[in-house]
Each structure stands twice: as structure tokens, then as C-alpha cells.
């Protein structure tokens, strides 16, 4: 099953650990909040993403199953 990372922006407190553990997918903006590449994770990226998600102090980095997002107003 394909997975991707996503940030819960409400939970995120800009600790920045995700950018250290998953640099291939996460960079930090000028205030320290993650800018995440939400495309499908491949190979060892997936393992790095799992580790980053576990290490986030506020559990704001999510490993999501890909599904078509439903829009609603």
C-alpha cells in the first residue's frame, strides 16, 4: 500500500526533528515549520518516514495511506 507523509499543522510546534530524520522529504521554512513533499514514499524513504513520525514530540508528522482526498467547502 502506498504511503506518504503529511503534517498536522495544528499539532506541529516546529521542533524540526522531521527535517533531520527525513531530509529527502522535509525542509524547514524560515520559522522552523516543515515544508513536506507529499508524494508517495519509496524504498528506504518509507523507513526514514516511520522513524521521523515516531520521533516527532507532538506526533504531528503523519504517515498516511494514500487515498483521494474528498473536497468539501
Amino acid at each position: 500500500m502506498s504511503r506518504r507523509v503529511r503534517v498536522n499543522p495544528i499539532a506541529c510546534e516546529a521542533h524540526g526533528i522531521c527535517a533531520e530524520l527525513l531530509p529527502e522529504r522535509v525542509t524547514l521554512d524560515e520559522w522552523g515549520y516543515p515544508i513536506v513533499d507529499e508524494r508517495t514514499l519509496h524504498g528506504e524513504e518509507l523507513e526514514h518516514a516511520r522513524r521521523a513520525a515516531r520521533a516527532c514530540p507532538t506526533l504531528a508528522l503523519l504517515l498516511e495511506r494514500e487515498r483521494s482526498r474528498t473536497a468539501a467547502s
Binding site: N8, P9, I10, A11, C12, E13, A14, D29, E30, W31, G32, Y33, I35, R69, T70, A71, A72, S73
Partner: protein, 453 residues
Amino acid sequence: MSSSAPTAELHAAAPDDTVAGLPRLLAGVHGERALTLSEHVSVHGELPTVAGGGRSRSRARSRRLIEEVEASGLRGCGGGGFPAGTKLRSVAAARGRPVVVVNAVEAEPPSSKDRTLLELAPHLVLDGAVLAAEALGADEAVVAIGEHAGGSAASAYAAIEERSHGGEHGRVALTLASVAGGYVAGQESALISGLEGREALPTFTPPLPFERGLRRRPTLVNNAETLAHLALIARHGAGWFRRLGTEAHPGSTLLTLSGPVAYPGVYEIEAGASLTSLIDAAGGTTAGVRGVLTGGYAGSWAPAAAIDELMLSREQLAGAGASFGAGIVVLLSAETCPVAETSRLARWLAGESARQCGPCVHGLDAISGAVEAVAAGAREQPSAQRLRTLSSLAAGRGACAHPDGAVRVIASALRAFAPEFEDHSRGGPCERCRAASELPLPHRAGRRATGRP
């Protein structure tokens, strides 16, 4: 047709006086008093039956109503413009007994159409809520109003009482609930938080309300005007609905018009009517016009030169780089400074962040600071590239669309008033910068000062 009293908030005008079949939502409304239930029934006819008469028949009628709404092309009138039929179908397909929420919070300061509709034609909104509830098998509908509901609160309350005494709608329990909160309180997930007794702040999704909303039940959140249209579609059908409007934006629509016109207020027009016909219906302009804001504070600005070209439908405004939003048109007069207005609006929007998401808190604050520096002609000013960078850092990175809307409206102001921004950037404030704000930017008592780092 329209009321002529200059103080009346409400005008149901067919813009060029040749459009047959208007008003629809405001039919029978005179003056500032709500239609009683019996007046409402004599204008619109009895509420059609959806539920009852055996399970299979009621299921077939529910299906037919949802199909009719889909065929009508009705979209949400609260700003999002999501197809109403699709939303109904999503809630119908979710697991559990659904609940209906009528969103009449109307947190956009320049909008008063939902309040006006609920105040003058409350039974049409309630009809829509009852019909949607029955189509979904819901036994409960909550009418959610905001802090500044004014006369619409009493009107909605009286209308609910009137129906329960008549015993007409024992089939769906109607309640009224007030939700306190700021600009983002009308956002769906925030509204549900507010109704559950928490602060009315947006939540992280999924789940969206249609899957798990009020008290964890599948929840249909529809704008008050959307449900009023639904009540008419249930009576007259999709074909009737499409007799007015454009292919992509069928029907009539409520608009709140403000600024230097003789009769600012709420108008029901045919979707796709020209902005000039609306201005004419409002008695024409009373001062020079510098620009026009469509769609509200998440919408977009256009310079005065564009006014003659704007047509008031979702797709026509979008095609012109403008937005329809919740049906808001604000004319900015030539008496005020558009740069100062934008600068104050940017600061207000930054202040209306729910302060939950870092990129929104920091991004909107930085953008506002940048606009202020340009407006003041400060020695150190942000480059255009810097403003673009800040915009891209704020937009799309919050739990709700507030930063996206704020970025859009500010960027559109920078484009629409480019010469004025250029002048301020070089020469500092102009003489009109000190004029009182024309844009309503309400100060909220008890605004939380705390926030994120």
C-alpha cells in the same frame, strides 16, 4: 420587488427590471418583518413530503430529492461553492444516523445575506433543513447563528416555535444554537467544534464533517441560503431552478452590496447579471469608485476600470480573476486610500488567524508587516519576490483555508492597486491614508491574545 426605503437593508430587485421569476428566495417579503408560516405557505406552497408513507416509498423520494438537487447544479452559497448534491450524497453514504447543520454564522464582515434571509424568510431556510434531514434519514437539524445575528436570532427562534406548535414538523427536531467566534468560526469544522461547546476553531481533517461531525455523526453542513434554494428545488424541480442563471451557476443568488451606492443592502439577482445592473438596482453610485472587492475577505480586488466587465456568477468572476465567494460586493470609494485599506485588512486578517498553525500565524503576520512597510514608504521595504515567497509559505499550509484566502485577497489588492502601491512605496502615506476605514473590520471583544510561539 424592491423596497424603496433608503434605510431598508433588503432589496429584491431584478437588476434590469426584465428578469421574470425574481425574486425567488425573497418572494412575498415586504419591509422588515418575517413571513409567518401561513404567509410562507401561501407564497411557496406546502412543504413537499420526503419521508413517511412506508420505508421503500420514502427511500425512493429521498433518492429523487438528492437527484433533483444534483441535476439543479446548486452549489454551496457560503463561499466554498461545493456542489450541494454531491455533499448530500456523501452524507447519505456515510455510516450512522446523520444530522443537519444550517450554517448561518456568516462571519464575513461585509456579508449580511444569510442574516437577512433568516430574518425575513426563516421558514424557507427551515424547509430546506427539514427536507435535507428527511432525505438523509436525519431526525435533527441545528440552525447555527453567530454572535452578531441581530434580528435573525429572534426570527429563527419564533419560526421554529411556530412550526412546533403547528405540529407540522414533528418529523425533524429543529433547534437554534449560537456560536461565538471570529472570522474562522463559520468554517465547517470550527462550527462543529463551537456547537459541541468547545472554541469554534478549525480542526485537522480528515475526518471531514460528512464522515464524522457533530457528536461524531455524519453531518451535512449547509449554508442557510443553500438550504433555502433546496427548499424551492424540492417544490419546483431542477428544470425550474435552471430557468435563471448560467449553465455553471444556475438560479438566483443573494448578494450583499456595500459602498458608495444609494441603497446598499442585500439583493436577490439572477446569477450572471452584470455588476453594473446591480449597481443600477441599488440606485447608482453616490461617489467616485476606486475599486471593487468581490467574494469577501477571502476574495479578490479589481480596479474600478473592471466594474463594467464583471458578471456576477461563479465562473464568470473566476474567469476574470475575481471571486464570487459568499456573494459579497464591496465598492471602495475614491475618498479612501486603497493602500491603507489593504494594509489594515492584512493586519486584521493576521489577527483573525485562529493561531493554531505556525505558517498561518507567522506568514500572515510577516505579509501584513510587509504591506505596512510599503504603505508607509519605509526605508526598508520587501521586494516583490519577498512578498511572493511569504505568500507561498502561508498559503495551503494551515488546517483551514484562512491563510489561502488572506494571501489571495492581499495579492489581488497589490495587482489591482499597483500604481497606488508604487506611489506609497516611493512617497509614503497619502492624504487619504488617514480617512476612516471603509472596510468593516470589527474588533472582537475577548479576543485571545495568547498564541503560538
